[in-house]
Assembly symmetry: C2
Homo-oligomer: 250 residues x 2
């Protein structure tokens, strides 16, 4: 979405049109890797997971917190949406703990907990009619920015805000929803409850890659979030209504 100007603009049109208090959490797309290549930084991986060294946290702070975030904010403003771009450091919205070094030192990666969310800061902005646009960055409270997964930030915000609001957490990706048959775009499972999930798991129907998303969804629901939707970014408008078209998890 983020890497394609036309798709991004179309998505932001839909987002701008969503009624009521809303928050957008974004990732970084391929721009950070591209920019890192231009700067001669090498991406480091251990066990398939990216390591955030000192140069990388500066890179992602620039790209996610600066370039991508402000581009989205400026576009949303042009579409009549009063966006305000933020990281977890701003207004201390989401302090994190640097991931402890065990077998692997992930570097400047922040682990978050919804109990640490500064709900009052978000509430101030939402009540003021502002639309927070969150980059996938947090801070350690001691002056250091940290890299945090965007999906995790989204669910942490959703859980933290569910004490004050009825929250629908929508994960936008490039498929129509959770597919019963990963080869068939039209095999979207429209509703997953705990019972249905158990049946699907027993039948080994689901693509492995989708399991963490569903597990996260149930974790969020177990912690107060009303409902979670997994769907196509292009279906955002429909998926914010009662008549959803993606996979609703309840």
């Amino acid at each position: 979405m983020i890497d394609d100007e036309k798709n991004l603009s179309s998505f932001l049109n839909d987002f701008a049109a969503v009624k009521g208090p809303k928050i957008l959490v974004h990732g970084g797309g391929k721009i950070a890797t591209k920019m890192g290549d231009s700067l001669g930084l090498e991406s480091k991986y251990v066990n398939g997971r990216r390591i955030t060294d000192a140069a990388t946290i500066d890179l992602v702070t620039m790209v996610y917190g600066g370039l991508v975030n402000k581009k989205m904010v400026a576009l949303l403003q042009s579409k009549g949406c009063n966006a305000i771009g933020l990281t977890g450091a701003d207004a201390n919205i989401l302090p994190a703990k640097k991931r402890p070094v065990k077998e692997v030192d992930y570097g400047f990666v922040g682990d978050v907990d919804s109990s640490q969310l500064t709900v009052s800061s978000l509430q101030l902005l939402l009540k003021g009619g502002l639309v927070p646009v969150m980059a996938p960055l947090t801070h350690d409270g001691q002056g250091q920015m940290l890299n945090t997964n965007a999906d995790t930030i989204a669910s942490t915000l959703a859980v933290g805000l569910s004490t004050l609001y009825d929250v629908r957490l929508i994960y936008c990706f490039e498929k129509k929803g959770v597919l019963e048959n990963v080869e068939d775009e039209h095999s979207v499972i429209r509703l997953i409850t705990k019972d249905i999930y158990k049946q699907l798991l027993d039948g080994k129907k689901l693509f492995d890659g989708i399991l963490p998303k569903i597990d996260n969804a149930f974790a969020a629901i177990g912690n107060g979030v009303q409902e979670v939707l997994i769907g196509d970014a292009r279906d955002l408008q429909r998926n914010t209504t009662a008549d959803t078209i993606g996979t609703l998890i309840k």
Copy 2:
């Protein structure tokens, strides 16, 4: 200040200690040029003025709006100051007009006007106990970020806010204040009124480079700002009290 970690931290300690509503407007230091060099971008100048082409506006959005801004926010948070990092696009705080092309096309440079300042957004944040930290960036309201001089943003904010607050605008630089003798660090002129300014100009006492700063200061005062102070960043604490040590312009 920004380029030296120790000086920056010491300055931010002083800023964090300032009582009452406050806003910090920062520039970019030498980091943008350094990062531009690493990315193989060439700085373009016409008549000694930097041209902001498409690659450069992306660069400064990354560096000023991301790296520098979030570093300052995270440091201020660690010092107990509830900072929130912003550009003029965020909450539509400062929309600008792309500078018209005449003899020179300055590119993505934004000209600002205090009548365009969204005072209500700043007031919401200040009333909420937040401390805005502004990067020298604005937007055109049509989705494009623009580069705007930090001194200009500071005076525009000061003038716009003077409808609601008594404002002291403090310009921090590397000298103790306006010097009567540029060779003598101790020759600070402690007070400049319009009459004193006229005498100084008549006596050709002042260093040419300081004249635009003083003219800007009188322009701000003419538009409602209570007082302007030009002083050393290291003297910030003293210069926020009644017993100033820099050059007070009234």
